[in-house]
C-alpha cells in the first residue's frame, strides 16, 4: 500500500506547498528523539498559536497548554503516543499573548516498516468560536433551567402563601366552578359548619351536607343577583342548620372575570355574625332594661321634687328656693337623658314609633323656640322665615329634633350670644337651618357626629354628654323621609339643616 502511494505522490515540493497552504495547523513531532520535539509546523499553526516557527521547532507540544496542565485530554494523548494510536482530543491551548483558544487536535502516528512509531502528525483546528457558541448555548440552557426552577419555586411559594392566607382568615371561604360545584373549602368553613373536605369538595353548593345549604336566599343571590351585580357584598342570610343551629351569615360573592384558567370561578366568603348580632341584641336589651328600671326611682324623686315645690313656704329664703329649683332642673335633665337612652334602644331595635298627624309646623317652631328662649335668657334666638303649610309628622319627636339642634348650638357657642333659625319651604320640602357662631366642627369629625355615642374628642372634656342627641335627631328625620346634615367652619360656627318632605296632596285629603 505504502509503496503504491509512493508511486502516486506527485512531487515532494507540491506536497510541501499543500502543507504550507493548509488552513489548519499542522505539526510533526519526531518520536525517536527525546521528549518528542516538534520538527515541523506550517504557517497556519504559527497563525493559530501566535508563536513564530523559530519559537516552535524543537519544543514539545505541551508549551501550548501554558500553565493549564491539568487537562483530562492529556491522558488520552499520552496513551495514544505510547500505544502509537490515533486520537482526537479537545485541548485548552494558549496563544503567545496568553489568550485561550480551544484546539481540536487530531493525532496520527507515522510508523516505519518495523511498526515502530517514528513521528506523530498533529492536525490542529481552532474551535474557539464553535466552543463559545456551544458554551453560550449551554449557559442559556442552564439559565433557562434555573429560571424554570425559580419560577416553579416562586409559584409554589406564592401558592403556599396564598393558601396560608386563606387558612388563616377567620372567615369561611368556598371556591366554586361556574356551575356552583365546590373546588375547595378552607378549614374555617369545615370547622364552622362541621363538615369534612370529602363531604364538600366536588359537591354542588346546594347539596352540601344533605341539602343543608339549599337556602332559598342563597340561591337567589347566586342565580339572580350575582350574574348582574358582581361582586355581591354584605348579603345577609339567616338559616337554621340541623346540627349547628340558627346562623346569621354575611356573604360576599365574587365571580372571577379576568380571562384565563380561573375565569367564571365563584368565590364565596361567609362571615358568621350570629354571635355579634346576639351581643348587639344583649346590649340593646340591657340599654332598654337599664333605662326602664332607672325610671321607677326617678319617678319617685320627681314626685317628691314637685311636692317640695308645692309645699315650700312663701317665706323661704331665696337660697333655699334656688336649691330646690336647681335640683328640680337636674332631675328633669336626668329624666331627659333616660328618655333619650330609651329612644336609642328603641331606634336600635327598630321600635321607634312615629305618631303621624297633621300639625302647624310654624306654630311648633315658634312654641319650641319660645320655651328654649325662656330657659336661656342670655342668648338671643332669632327665628326667620315661615313654612306656611301644615305638616303630617310626629310633632313631639320633631320638637325633640329642633330642641336638640338649638341646645347644641347654644352649648357649643359659649362665647357667642346669638343663634339664628331659618325656616323655609323649598320645593316640596320644609327646610330648617340652625346657625351658631360657636366652635365649629373639623371636616373629619363632621361625618361622624351623627353616629351613636360619638363625641368629638376635645369636646368631651369641656361639654359632657352621651353623644346620642344628634343620632336620635338624625334617625327621627330619616324616619320622616328627610335628611339632616351639617356644614361647619372651625372657629366660625356651624349650620345644622334638616329637610322634611311635604306630601301636600295627601295632606289635603286627610284634612278633608
Amino acid at each position: 500500500m505504502t509503496a503504491n502511494i509512493k508511486h502516486i505522490i506527485p512531487d515532494q515540493f507540491v506536497l510541501f506547498k499543500a502543507l504550507e497552504a493548509a488552513n489548519t495547523g499542522i505539526v510533526i513531532t519526531d518520536n525517536l528523539l527525546p521528549d518528542n520535539p516538534i520538527i515541523y509546523c506550517n504557517p497556519a499553526f504559527e497563525r493559530i498559536s501566535g508563536y513564530s516557527r523559530e519559537e516552535i521547532i524543537g519544543h514539545n507540544c505541551r508549551f501550548l497548554q501554558n500553565k493549564d496542565r491539568n487537562q483530562e485530554a492529556r491522558f488520552h494523548i499520552q496513551r495514544a503516543i505510547s500505544n502509537g494510536e490515533d486520537c482526537i482530543v479537545e485541548l485548552r491551548n494558549y496563544t503567545k499573548s496568553g489568550q485561550l483558544f480551544y484546539n481540536e487536535l487530531y493525532l496520527s502516528p507515522v510508523k516505519n516498516e518495523q511498526g515502530e512509531t517514528t513521528h506523530f502528525i498533529g492536525i490542529q483546528n481552532d474551535i474557539t468560536a464553535r466552543r463559545k457558541v456551544e458554551q453560550a448555548l449551554e449557559m442559556n440552557y442552564e439559565e433557562t433551567e434555573r429560571k424554570v426552577l425559580d419560577r416553579t419555586r416562586m409559584l409554589k411559594e406564592s401558592e403556599e402563601y396564598l393558601s396560608s392566607i386563606v387558612e388563616t382568615i377567620r372567615e369561611s371561604l368556598l371556591v366554586m366552578d361556574k356551575d356552583y360545584y365546590i373546588l375547595s373549602a378552607n378549614n374555617h368553613f369545615l370547622n364552622t359548619f362541621k363538615v369534612s373536605i370529602n363531604e364538600t369538595k366536588g359537591k354542588l353548593l346546594y347539596e352540601l351536607g344533605n341539602g343543608q345549604w339549599n337556602i332559598p336566599e342563597l340561591k337567589k343571590m347566586m342565580l339572580e343577583i350575582l350574574p348582574t351585580n358582581n361582586p355581591v357584598l354584605d348579603y345577609e342570610v339567616e338559616h337554621e342548620f340541623p346540627h349547628i343551629g340558627k346562623k346569621l351569615m354575611l356573604l360576599n360573592a365574587h365571580r372571577v372575570e379576568f380571562e384565563g384558567q380561573f375565569k367564571d370561578r365563584i368565590l364565596l366568603a361567609i362571615e358568621d355574625i350570629t354571635e355579634r348580632k346576639a351581643i348587639e341584641q344583649r346590649k340593646d336589651d340591657f340599654l332598654s332594661i337599664a333605662s326602664h328600671e332607672l325610671k321607677t326611682p326617678l319617678t319617685t324623686v320627681l314626685g317628691y321634687m314637685q311636692m317640695m315645690q308645692r309645699l315650700m313656704p312663701e317665706n323661704s329664703s331665696e337660697k333655699f328656693k334656688s336649691v330646690v329649683s336647681k335640683t328640680s332642673m337636674y332631675v328633669d335633665r336626668l329624666n331627659q337623658l333616660l328618655a333619650e337612652l330609651l329612644d336609642v334602644s328603641k331606634i336600635q331595635t327598630g321600635n321607634i314609633e312615629l305618631h303621624m298627624h297633621p300639625f302647624d309646623f310654624d306654630k311648633m317652631v315658634s312654641e319650641t323656640i319660645e320655651g328654649l328662649q325662656t330657659a336661656t335668657p342670655h342668648y338671643k334666638i332669632i327665628t326667620k322665615g315661615k313654612v306656611g303649610v301644615s305638616f303630617n309628622g310626629d310633632e313631639s319627636h320633631l320638637v325633640q329634633v329642633l330642641t336638640n339642634l338649638v341646645s347644641n348650638a347654644i352649648k357649643y357657642s359659649p362665647d357667642a350670644n346669638e343663634i339664628e333659625i331659618y325656616v323655609s319651604k323649598v320645593s316640596n320640602f320644609i327646610k330648617v337651618s340652625v346657625k351658631d357662631h360657636g366652635l365649629g366642627i373639623k371636616d373629619e369629625e363632621l361625618k361622624k357626629i351623627f353616629a351613636r355615642f360619638y363625641r368629638v374628642g376635645e369636646i368631651q372634656k369641656r361639654f359632657p354628654g352621651m353623644g346620642i342627641g344628634l343620632y336620635i335627631s338624625d334617625q327621627i328625620v330619616k324616619n320622616h323621609g328627610g335628611t339632616l346634615w351639617a356644614e361647619s367652619e372651625v372657629g366660625k360656627g356651624s349650620v345644622f339643616n334638616f329637610t322634611l318632605p311635604v306630601h301636600e296632596e295627601r295632606e289635603e285629603m286627610k284634612n278633608d
Partner: protein, 118 residues
C-alpha cells in the same frame, strides 16, 4: 264626701310618694303592693278610682284590669294605668283603661286626669 283613690304598685317607694301627693290633692288613699289582692281590696275598700301600674310581678296590670272590667260589680270603676315603658299606652288602651299616664308623671297632669274621671 272625700273620694277614695286606690293605688296598686309593687314598688314601695312609688307608693309612698304617690300617697303623699294624692293626699295633698285632698283625696283619701289606699295602697296595695301585691296585685293578686286587688279584687279583694276593691270589694272591701270600694274606692272611687284605681291607679294601676302595668308592670308588676305575678299578675300584671293589664291582666287585672281585664278581670275587673269583666266583673259587673267593678266594670264602671274608673281606672288610670301608668307605666315607664313605651308600649304602656297601647297596653292600657287594649286592656280597657279609662286613662293612661306615663312615668315619670307631672303632678298637675295626674291631678287633672283623676279629677276628670271623678
Amino acid at each position: 264626701m272625700i273620694k277614695k283613690i286606690m293605688i296598686c304598685d309593687d314598688d314601695p317607694g312609688i307608693l309612698e310618694m304617690m300617697v303623699m301627693i294624692i293626699e295633698e290633692y285632698g283625696f283619701e288613699v289606699f295602697t296595695e303592693a301585691n296585685s293578686v289582692n286587688v279584687l279583694k281590696d276593691l270589694e272591701r275598700e270600694k274606692p272611687d278610682l284605681l291607679l294601676l301600674d302595668i308592670w308588676m310581678p305575678v299578675l300584671s296590670g293589664d291582666q287585672i284590669l281585664k278581670t275587673i272590667k269583666a266583673e259587673p260589680k267593678f266594670s264602671s270603676l274608673p281606672v288610670i294605668m301608668y307605666s315607664a315603658s313605651a308600649e304602656g299606652l297601647a297596653i292600657a288602651q287594649k286592656a280597657g283603661a279609662d286613662d293612661y299616664i306615663s312615668k315619670p308623671f307631672d303632678m298637675n297632669d295626674l291631678e287633672a286626669k283623676i279629677t276628670a274621671l271623678l
